[in-house]
């Protein structure tokens, strides 16, 4: 049984978690803090949640572990399907048309895509697999695929490109598994041809977006749902500045931007919607 958290501790811990990750927890969810943080009290030498907080403030590693324990990394290959049909049938072809019209000579066409909370990499690898199948000769393009996440563990798993059978069974068709993964014991590893297309790094969406550059397509799915309205406004405003004028933003299937960022306009294609900047 994890140690019970006291009311005044709840306040401190929730505020701290918000500071380090943006994740906004409900004060009524004491049980969530206990089940997700309780083990730190048993294994470390913390005598209370307050003590844990004091230690974590000066211990980056512990801070990272707390973020890992609190955040939900739930993800799957080709999640929701719709956005990937959208990429294949509309966004990528139109982007290539628009970019190639501007380019002279034999310069590879640049396509920059960002998975802004990539978790263990399934989202970005799904995009890479889709591009590989759609573009045939990827060398004709200057692809920059970036996956970022606040969690060290998630980013290193993504980087390593190794998935267990449960992760593989979710969302990945058999033909794609055979084509783009090789067995590695009881696990599966993404093949190098896909791995080299993607880059992963740690990034906290609550920080300023310096040095990331601009993107043609941004996936920011199922992460802002954990943030307060204020923080969502801030993040989607930053995202609007990181998106090319004719770029596209894809958010989670049950998320919305009404009342969050007036710069975006929703557009429908087939059964999905995506967002572009109002002209």
């Amino acid at each position: 049984m994890p140690l019970k958290i006291k009311t005044d501790e709840i306040k401190v811990i929730i505020k701290y978690i918000h500071e380090i990750s943006g994740i906004s927890l409900d004060h009524s969810k004491a049980y969530l803090l206990e089940t997700r943080l309780g083990h730190f009290l048993n294994e470390g030498d913390c005598s209370s949640y307050l003590d844990l907080y004091q230690k974590a403030k000066s211990d980056k590693k512990l801070e990272g572990k707390i973020i890992d324990a609190i955040s939900t990394n739930e993800t799957l290959f080709f999640r929701d399907k719709g956005p990937f049909d959208l990429l294949r049938n509309k966004i990528i072809p139109e982007l290539i048309d628009a970019r190639s019209a501007k380019i002279r000579g034999n310069i590879p066409i640049p396509i920059r895509i960002w998975s802004a909370a990539c978790s263990t990499g399934q989202e970005l690898y799904s995009i890479a697999i889709l591009l590989k199948e759609l573009l045939l000769d990827v060398k004709k393009y200057n692809l920059k695929l970036l996956g970022t996440d606040i969690s060290d563990t998630a980013v290193s798993q993504a980087s390593y490109g190794k998935f267990n059978k449960f992760e593989i069974e979710r969302g990945l068709a058999k033909d794609k598994l055979a084509k783009f993964f090789s067995p590695d014991g009881v696990n599966w590893k993404i093949k190098d041809e896909i791995r080299v297309m993607a880059n992963f790094k740690k990034f906290n969406l609550m920080f300023p977006f310096n040095g990331l550059g601009k993107f043609d397509i941004i996936f920011c799915r199922n992460v802002a749902i954990y943030f307060s309205l204020e923080d969502r406004k801030k993040i989607f405003n930053n995202i609007s500045n990181a998106l090319e004028k004719d770029g596209s933003l894809i958010i989670g299937s049950s998320e919305a931007l009404t009342g969050i960022c007036p710069k975006f306009e929703p557009k429908r294609h087939l059964n999905s919607i995506f967002y572009q900047l109002k002209q």
């Binding site: 299937s253 049950s254 998320e255 306009e265 929703p266 999905s272 919607i273």
Partner: protein, 194 residues
């Protein structure tokens, strides 16, 4: 509670009978095979929650063969291996290939039943998780459609509002005219919504 359907694969008839009797005394359902070929045949035609197989068996397909075939045919099936002596290396190899457990001969039946109960508990948990995920998927899909429709509708209405505002502030028309145009536009929106 989910009950388990178990296939026991063992070339020694006495051991096979003993295991079968012991497992039947619980609520679990048991089928048997006396060699690897027979086992693989059964597995390709039937679903088993657990395959309990001897590691060393005569014939072309031994315990590892049964394990590999099972994992290929049905990855949800758990495989427990029975090893003749403390051949830990073989057991480790088997675990790497996806076996969930191994037990040593002579079989301690209490231990075997305990392992089976553990698998049953695990299966029940997995089923719960799958059910929950399914329920969440359905809810999310429904909510997603509604939210996306509303999102488009709001964006559409925002555009209409701007148009009406523009009409109402047209300096070159008199007031009644502006109001009439605006009213017509509002009626169109109203009809569209209902």
């Amino acid at each position: 509670m989910t009950d388990l359907k178990i296939l026991v694969v063992e070339d020694d008839p006495v051991t096979l009978l003993l295991i079968k009797k012991k497992i039947i005394s619980t609520d679990y359902e048991v089928e048997t095979a006396t060699n690897g070929e027979e086992a693989v045949n059964l597995i390709s035609g039937n679903y088993y929650d657990v395959v309990l197989t001897d590691l060393m068996m005569p014939g072309d397909i031994d315990g590892i063969g049964v394990l590999e075939a099972t994992k290929k045919l049905c990855s949800q099936t758990e495989v427990i291996l029975i090893t003749a002596y403390a051949s830990v290396d073989n057991a480790v190899e088997a675990m790497q290939k996806g076996a969930s457990d191994y037990i040593q001969k002579p079989i301690n039946f209490d231990e075997l039943l305990l392992r089976l109960d553990k698998i049953r508990g695990l299966k029940a948990l997995i089923k719960d998780a799958v059910d929950l995920r399914e329920a969440m998927d359905v809810t999310e899909k429904n909510a997603g459609h509604t939210i996306q429709d509303l999102e488009l509708e709001i964006s559409h209405l925002q555009k209409r509002i701007s148009e009406i505002k523009k009409v109402l502030s047209m300096e070159d028309r008199d007031h009644p005219k502006r109001i009439n145009i605006a009213l017509a536009m509002l009626s169109a929106i109203e009809n569209n919504l209902s």
